[in-house]
């Protein structure tokens, strides 16, 4: 059985590792102020479903501007280079996929989990009361974890 609250620290560590190693970004667990969230008009959400010892969804929601920033860092593009929305969606899916895989491997290494292809969409904002808030390059990132039937 998945108990999201007990996974909080492991998820924060997994997200920070992926942000640093693949996206050259600094991330740490930090609650945003209401103003930080309100200042971001557009958001994107990447969702990955996992099944194994337990099953659920990991949803990572980021300001769209951060999505573009992380994508540029991953690809090593020039700051003025225009990135396609499809490229940013692909990369945010990979970010969620890597964060999920890193968390499950580090916290439950004896078990094997299957991860679905990530789904990425534009959303109105982060979900209410996520498990975890991260600050990534100074911008708020919501990390939500929900258990579901296997």
């Amino acid at each position: 059985m998945l108990t999201p609250a007990t996974e909080r620290d492991a998820l924060a560590s997994a997200f920070a590792t992926v942000a640093e190693q693949s996206f050259f970004a600094y991330a740490e667990a930090e609650d945003p102020t209401p103003g930080d969230v309100a200042a971001c008009p557009d958001w994107m959400q990447a969702s990955v479903r996992f099944t194994g010892l337990f099953a659920g969804h990991l949803r990572v929601t980021v300001p769209t501007s951060l999505g573009f920033e992380l994508c540029g860092a991953f690809l090593g593009t020039a700051p003025d280079e225009v990135l396609a929305d499809t490229a940013v969606s692909d990369l945010l899916g990979e970010l969620a996929n890597m964060a999920c895989g890193t968390w499950l491997t580090d916290a439950h290494s004896a078990q094997s989990f299957a991860l679905t292809h990530p789904e990425v969409s534009h959303v109105a904002g982060p979900p209410p009361s996520p498990l975890l808030w991260m600050s990534c390059n100074g911008q708020p990132v919501s990390v939500a974890l929900e258990e579901s039937a296997s």
């Binding site: 690809l75 895989g101 499950l104 292809h117």
Partner: protein, 129 residues
């Protein structure tokens, strides 16, 4: 003239394929790269051209990396060196692919130095045969 060492990169993320391709070519610019978005596409590429090594993700739509590695074993393509590049580094997954002739298992996220080390090992093994 010798054919260039050819690596097939198999990943459903086009951006991840682009990053791996860039890392490989930065480490060694005399390598030829082929790409596939899933295991089934990769089997088609390996049927159509000579490939020396395959870098494959595990979780992919249509045909997973594990299913592709099994198919390669069934077809007797043991001369193609197999490298798994996956977020899933669990003991159970490593055990699952152990019997599928996997030379190296690399966890994502990965640093460019890791790719360089993998290439050194692959090319050393290739030259020894």
């Amino acid at each position: 003239m010798d054919r260039p060492f050819t690596i097939l990169i198999v990943d459903d993320s086009a951006m991840m394929r682009a990053m791996l391709k860039r890392a490989v070519l930065l480490a060694s610019d005399d390598i030829q790269i082929a790409e596939a978005a899933n295991g089934l596409e990769a089997i088609g590429v390996m049927e159509a051209r000579e490939v020396d090594a395959v870098f494959t993700d595990i979780n992919m739509p249509v045909m997973t990396g594990v299913e592709m590695l099994r198919e390669m074993t069934v077809r007797g393509w043991d001369q193609i060196r197999r490298v798994v590049v996956s977020t899933d580094g669990s003991d159970a997954r490593r055990d699952e692919v152990r019997d599928l002739n996997v030379a190296l298992y690399v966890r994502k996220p990965l640093a460019p130095e890791t790719i360089r080390d993998v290439l050194v090992e692959l090319r050393y093994a290739h030259a020894s045969h």
